[in-house]
Amino acid sequence: MGYDGPPLSIMEVCGTHTAAIFKTGVRSLLSPKIRLISGPGCPVCVTPAAYIDRCAALAKTGRHAVMSFGDMLKAPGARGSLSDARAEGGRVEMMYAPFEALERAKREPDTIFALAAVGFETTIPAYALVLEEALARGIENIRLVTALKSVLPALAWVSERGGADGFLCPGHVSVITGAGVYARLAELYDRPFVIAGFEGEHILAAIFEIVRAVSEKRAVVRNLYPSAVREEGNAKARALIAKYFEPCAAFWRGLGAISDSGFRLRREYARFDGGGSDVPDEDVLPEGCRCGDVITGRIDPNECPAFGAACRPEHPVGPCMVSAEGVCGIWHSHM
């Protein structure tokens, strides 16, 4: 690209975008004046260590089986990862989809299946459906250990702190929230928000839109993913979320507590609650870990002193190094 204006930074908020940007080689095509930074949009990366410790402890009770997406297995808690817990005899099973828990729970009525329910708006409806199905089939030995979050409050958090000149908005999350929700952010923080799909061409087109909007000082919202994202989003999915979950303050690893940025189970479903939304909200990043600066774009991964040294995919200090959508792991394997 021939952009030669003042340097500008664009934050891609979704980990899937980060992965796609590296997979398609987008960065190698951009003017050096355009800096791409990765936001807090990888659910594993913003999950606090205390939550992982909670899941690991459950795995070792002998009564629980913790079911987790593979992505979470190597994310470090303060006392090791779920993968470590499994190696130490804890019962941790990798799930590909939350629904697997239903069959397992039915087959093993004496075991409590604790789902490590981590995710954003894209994944929360699936957990809601698990509950709906569990209720319909009278399956009681399922628990959700929740670390469920909403992306938008984190975008506001980043914007308030200057974050980036423009945002490449998450394609999947926007399917649920709709494109309309970004209008308020654009107005409030006076910068463009552009929604894109995940092909290299989509991402390039979005970057072009953002660069043009920033150059012309227009705080626009553009939906370049109209095949999947509608203005009003998916009301059905949001209703499903609202039926089982209610907003709460959530703790974001590296960012801290953000009010109304999380979801916890509603009181009437408390018997399915395996905890999680109540983990202590103190920022206990290991010494030297600068995950917070990385996932808010204040520094690039390789500016963190631990990157590639103390923190490597084989022995991560922070989850960003091991999640498939974690920016440090992606940098480490692509740079």
Binding site: A19, K23, G25, Y96, E314, S323, E325, S333
Partner: protein, 395 residues
């Protein structure tokens, strides 16, 4: 530190485990090459015999890395009769082997005939899947490892570890499938072992194989050089996608590519193309295999994304699951690194075979280090070794 699933992924964790534990204790120059199979010099007396009449079974020419060969024969139950080689009706190994084992072709300094020796363990759930089963896998896997060193595969052993509760009819079917695969591959199953351990109805198979590398043939990853071309025998990811689909209860038409690559390997040799190295693209996928090649040859590899074949159904599955075909396991795919001037010759030879009909030239070797890919978009990305387990993502 404890063993985790990542240690079995075929990626970096596996490589570190092998280096730090087995490499340390079993230090041996042949083992240290970390090739698909060990290629061993034959004692002079055997070399003459091997070149004309095949090799005596149970030869102790290779290093014994802890097989049951040292046990008194009476303590080793024979393998199930279903795999008895006497009834084999396929091509006799000696016949096909003999063809390639004549006197060394001319060039002075060309290596003499050598023994290739390999072993592999097979663990897969489900035991039977679309396009194959653990039995077929265990034969094709070891045969392919021998083929990748340029060998003509001859004999296999198989060790079964059965869990209590395994259905005997299923074992029978799997043994039959092994026998059929062995016939198809032109090898004989000539030694076996059976153990019962644990409960759960599972089944694990170890196979070991020997073959002969004909005189004059030298295949090794460190022979690759700038200017060489890389040929891939067909689309990536089918086995991985098939197994994952079965485990997740997803109905689709994706079949495992489980196959013996003898036709492709022999066609490449017969074509006269100068084949530098071959690798079957199994665990860890193309990414892991090419990083091994780049490391051991001290060169860089650059791929062209648009030339890498991936079936449409597999591509769609990968998109859905957040998987990258570059890191997905295959059981019937190989790469060959050939002299750049012979690339087209090798391609047309491979395309003339059943298991190489979708072969493609996907990139080349150059000076430098590492593996890179020119993306469809025209950008460049690095292709790293697989790290961790190659897992589907959350969102």
């Amino acid at each position: 530190m404890k063993i985790t699933a990542a240690h079995g992924s075929g990626g970096l964790d596996s490589a570190l485990l092998v280096r730090d534990i087995f490499g340390k204790h079993f230090s041996d120059p042949v083992l240290a090459r970390l090739e698909d199979a060990a290629v061993l010099d034959l004692p002079a007396a055997l070399a003459g015999a091997g070149a004309t009449a095949g090799l005596p079974v149970g030869s102790s020419a290779g290093p014994d890395l802890g097989s049951s060969a040292g046990l008194p024969a009476g303590l080793r139950p024979r393998a199930s009769a279903g795999s008895a080689p006497e009834r084999s009706s396929g091509p006799r190994p000696e016949a096909s082997a003999g063809a390639g084992l004549g006197p060394a072709p001319g060039s002075p300094g060309a290596p003499p005939a050598r023994l290739a020796f390999s072993t592999d363990g097979f663990v897969v759930t489900p035991l039977v899947f679309r396009g194959g089963d653990i039995g077929k896998l265990s034969v094709c896997g070891t045969v392919n490892d021998l083929l990748m060193m340029g060998a003509i595969p001859l004999y296999l052993s198989c060790g079964f570890i059965l869990e209590e509760g395994l259905d005997i009819a299923l074992l029978d079917a799997i043994a039959a499938s092994m026998a059929e695969a062995a016939r198809g591959a032109g090898v004989r199953i000539v030694a076996g072992d059976t153990k019962v351990a644990g409960v759960g109805g599972g089944l694990y198979i170890n196979t070991a194989g020997v073959g002969v590398v004909p005189a004059g043939r030298a295949i090794a990853a460190d022979a690759c050089a700038p200017g060489d071309a890389i040929l891939l025998s067909g689309g990536l990811g089918n086995h991985h996608a098939c197994i994952l689909s079965a485990r997740m209860g997803i109905e689709n038409g994706i079949e495992s590519d489980c196959a013996c690559l003898r036709d492709v390997a022999e066609a490449l040799h017969a074509s006269g193309a100068r084949v530098k190295a071959m690798r079957d693209v199994t665990r860890g996928g193309l990414g892991a295999v090419l990083n091994e090649i780049a490391d051991s040859s001290g060169c860089s590899v650059t791929l062209r994304e648009e030339d890498i074949p991936v079936d449409a159904a597999v591509r769609a599955f990968c998109g859905l699951m957040g998987l990258d075909p570059l890191y997905m396991g295959n059981e019937g795919k190989m790469i060959a690194v050939v002299d750049g001037a012979d690339a087209e010759k090798a391609l047309s030879a491979a395309r003339g075979t059943q298991n190489g009909k979708n072969a493609a030239l996907i990139g080349g070797v150059a000076a430098g280090r590492g593996v890179f890919m020119r993306t469809r978009l025209g950008g460049t990305r690095r292709v790293d070794n697989l790290r961790g387990e190659g897992l589907p993502r959350i969102c």
